[in-house]
């Protein structure tokens, strides 16, 4: 018992079945085009030619097509036929020459009027089928034929009888060596014609049924009824059109690159580019039997619920480790880095220490020993000291004197010698000291010095009573300007909160000109200049003098004011030397070894700078000599 191979899925089925047990495809209904694998088997079922088809139909036990198959319209069957393409190459691949002969034979059928164009038109459908089968070699001709068929196919119309006649006459014109597939194709087309619906010639179902009842085979009538469209295509007699001589068309010069693009004639696209042998076969739908295509069957498209994606970030362990590393790096940036430890013992530090020891040790020794070896400075050798002394001496007893303590506590070592001498001289004359300062630390400095000078005065235990401390004068230069014009307005009260301007002797003072003298003690040349330039212009020649006690660093800049004509500074004591000279002028002889220590310090400093410069010069010369040698 032979099995019937399903034309759709290719699986064997028992002979008695009408439908495939796997894919439910009809097994014995005409219109299906078998898979290329089973085309030989199909040839047994479906007659290769109308006569053969009729014989075969008689031989076989035709069964009435199942209702499902009857419901399938012919046009759909034709569409299926046209879609179904052999996935594998034909088992019997004809050579190109054979194919061309066949094509020529088909084209030049004796039944048909011999017109290449007409034959072309007649057999256009066949040509198209051949082209789909990939057996056509002469592409241009085929394309021309196809185009002409498309253009004229609709216009042609042939009577059915003639078509039938032509169709009947066609088979004898087929050469003996006609390929089986072509035979099958014709047979299937005949079967289609029997059951197909043609717009012009729709076979009545009664006639069809009658023919079926008579023969038991669908479409198995003595005369194969060929639909009109075939007749129109095949047996149309087209009168030959007069051919006009066409002008010769010169072949165009094809450029090299275009020539290179010409597809190789040897390459015949016989096989699909992509190997779809492993692909699944479509088991349902219009694309049944095809491989490597998406099934159009609705069952192939399964409506599924769209997948829900988690919104949670997926972080792998590696990513997590990297994130942690980055966070640690960023955290390290925020942390203050500990300062790099620096070496304490370096050559530079040793050199500094050596200089400090060389300088400090002799000085300390001089102070401890209270050395008196160096001669004290002479007042005459220091310009301004004598004038300073004389100006202070000329102050009337009890006169108010404005004393400005505008030097820094750090310069106490240099300035205190002159300041203490000054204060002692002023106190000896019972002058009323009016203390003021433009430096924040001047208040405490002034108080401290006045109290020290007062207690030291003639061994008195109490402080000097004739003084008042007006305190800190803010505003710098602007404050001085205000003080010069109206001190009472700028500094209305003393540090103790007393209105000193209301009582003697300051009740007679309305401006700075009313003071017996203005004595400025400062280490800063700019402060000295501010006093001179703000307060000095207010003072007239008959008014009190401006006297300066400065440090050595300010002396060069203040001296021009003293040496000017008229002088803006009537006396000045500068530095430690000036203070020592002033002390000598007053009659005080310091015995504390300070002058010897200062002398020692200056000597050591000169030696250090000299030796350091000589060593540097030697190294420099050696380096330059080495450079020249190189």
């Amino acid at each position: 018992m032979t099995d019937i191979i399903c034309p759709l899925c290719g699986k064997p089925n028992p002979e008695e079945l009408d439908e495939c047990q796997y894919c439910q495809a009809p097994l014995k209904v005409a219109g299906f085009i078998a898979s290329p694998e089973d085309q030989e088997d199909f040839s047994q079922i479906f007659p290769p030619s109308p006569d053969q088809a009729g014989e075969e139909d008689q031989d076989t036990q035709p069964e009435s097509p199942p209702p499902s198959e009857q419901s399938i319209p012919d046009w759909l069957k034709q569409t299926e036929a046209s879609f179904l393409k052999p996935s594998e190459p034909e088992p019997e691949e004809l050579s190109s020459e054979q194919l061309s002969e066949q094509i020529d034979a088909l084209i030049n059928l004796p039944s048909t009027p011999a017109e290449p164009q007409k034959s072309a038109i007649d057999d256009e459908w066949l040509t198209s089928l051949l082209s789909e089968a990939g057996a056509i070699e002469s592409i241009p001709e085929g394309e021309v034929l196809l185009e002409r068929a498309v253009e004229t196919g609709e216009e042609t119309s042939t009577p059915a009888g003639e078509e039938t006649t032509q169709e009947e006459e066609e088979p004898p014109a087929v050469p003996a060596e006609r390929p089986a597939w072509l035979t099958n194709l014709e047979a299937s087309s005949n079967i289609k014609l029997d059951g197909g619906m043609q717009p012009s010639e729709v076979p009545e179902p009664e006639e069809q049924e009658a023919s079926v009842e008579e023969t038991g085979v669908p479409g198995a009538s003595e005369h194969v009824e060929i639909p009109d469209w075939i007749s129109k295509v095949s047996f149309e007699e087209v009168p030959p059109e007069p051919k006009e001589p066409e002008p010769p068309i010169e072949p165009a010069e094809i450029p090299g690159w275009l020539e290179a693009l010409r597809p190789s004639e040897e390459a015949t696209p016989t096989a699909p580019v992509e190997d779809v042998s492993a692909a699944d076969v479509v088991t349902a739908g219009p694309l049944v039997g095809l491989r490597g295509v998406i099934s159009a069957h609705p069952s192939a498209i399964q409506a599924r619920k769209p997948p829900t994606y988690s919104i949670k970030l997926r972080v792998t362990e590696e990513q997590r480790a990297r994130v942690q590393m980055m966070e640690e790096l960023l955290a390290e940036e925020q942390k203050p880095k500990p300062p790099t430890s620096k070496r304490i013992i370096t050559s530079q530090n040793i050199f500094r220490l050596a200089i400090a020891l060389v300088l400090i040790l002799p000085i300390v020794w001089m102070i401890i020993a209270k050395s008196q070896q160096s001669p004290l400075p002479q007042p005459a050798n220091y310009p301004g000291v004598i004038d300073f002394f004389q100006q202070v001496q000329q102050l009337p007893a009890g006169a108010p004197v404005l004393v400005a303590f505008d030097y820094e506590p750090g310069f106490s070592g240099e300035m205190n010698s002159a300041v203490s001498t000054l204060l002692s001289q002023l106190m000896a004359k019972n002058t009323y000291l009016t203390l003021v300062t433009t430096a924040p630390s001047g208040v405490a400095l002034a108080e401290s010095l006045v109290k020290d000078a007062g207690t030291g005065l003639a061994g008195s235990l109490s402080s000097y009573p004739y003084y008042t401390d007006l305190g800190y004068l803010p505003g710098g230069t602007m404050g001085l300007l205000g003080l010069a014009s109206s001190p009472k307005t700028v500094l209305p009260y003393s540090l103790e909160g007393i209105d000193v301007w209301a009582s003697a002797p300051l009740n007679t003072v309305s401006s700075v000109t009313d003071f017996g003298a203005v004595i400025v003690i400062t280490n800063d040349p700019d402060t000295a200049r501010a006093w001179i330039e703000q307060v000095g212009p207010v003072l007239r020649a008959e008014d009190g003098p401006i006297l300066m006690v400065t440090s050595s660093q300010a002396e060069p800049l203040i001296r021009p004011y003293y040496e000017a004509s008229p002088s803006q500074v009537q006396g000045m004591v500068a530095g430690l030397a000036g203070g020592q000279a002033y002390s000598r002028a007053v009659g005080r002889q310091p015995q504390n070894g300070v002058w010897d220590a200062f002398s020692m310090g200056v000597t050591v400093s000169i030696l250090i700078i000299l030796i350091g410069g000589i060593i540097s010069m030697v190294f420099m010369l050696q380096a330059s000599a080495r450079k020249r040698e190189d």
Partner: protein, 207 residues
């Protein structure tokens, strides 16, 4: 407001500056308002000193919270500051306890710093030629040595009158000449800076 405030600041600054400047040249016209503005400036300067002290406290308070060995110095500073404020507030700015702190802490510390400064200058002078090996460095060092020699008698060598005279000439002629030239340039620069501020081009007050 963001646009108006800078313009307002600039207008106030420019007008105030011009009034004080013209008050110097035309005292009869603007001396009154000039005095008022100067008085305000003096008061603001005094208050700014307190703001500066507050800034000092904030800086060191912040330092005490950081890691490191130097934070201990900030703690010492803050403790010293508060103790001095308390003592000066109770004793007065010229009280005995205030003067004790001043005489036993501030004066010695500042004198020591000045001594360190002397050593620093000596060290710099000894290495100057190796750092800046140029001819005017040699001239600089020679001048320093001459001034030092003339400032005080050399130990065991005594005073030299010619060197003293040379030192006096150096400090009064070339040094002062150079200083005056520098001061003229400084004055010009100050005038230029003042002009830029007076016409509102430079606005250091956040305008």
């Amino acid at each position: 407001m963001k646009r108006i405030l800078p313009i307002t600041n600039a207008v106030i600054a420019v007008v105030s500056g011009l009034i004080v400047l013209f008050g110097y040249f035309f005292p009869g016209l603007l001396s009154g308002i000039q005095s008022v503005l100067i008085g305000w400036a003096i008061i603001i300067a005094a208050f700014a000193l307190l703001v500066g002290v507050f800034n000092l406290v904030m800086v060191h308070w912040k330092k005490t919270g950081t890691e490191g060995s130097n934070s201990i110095y900030s703690i010492v500073l803050l403790i010293s500051l508060f103790i001095t404020i308390i003592v000066a507030g109770l004793s007065g700015p010229t009280g005995s306890w205030t003067l004790w702190i001043f005489n036993n802490f501030q004066v010695p510390v500042e004198v020591s710093l000045l001594a360190v400064l002397a050593i620093v200058l000596l060290y710099a002078g000894a290495r100057l030629l190796s750092r800046k090996p140029k001819w005017y460095t040699i001239l600089f060092l020679i001048t320093v040595l001459l001034v030092l020699v003339g400032s005080a008698p050399l130990f065991l060598a005594g005073e030299s009158a010619p060197l003293s005279a040379l030192r006096s000439w150096l400090s009064q002629v070339p040094a002062i000449a150079g200083a005056r030239g520098l001061l003229l340039g400084v004055a010009l620069g100050t005038v230029a800076t003042g002009i830029r501020i007076l016409i509102g081009i430079d606005r250091p007050y956040g305008g």
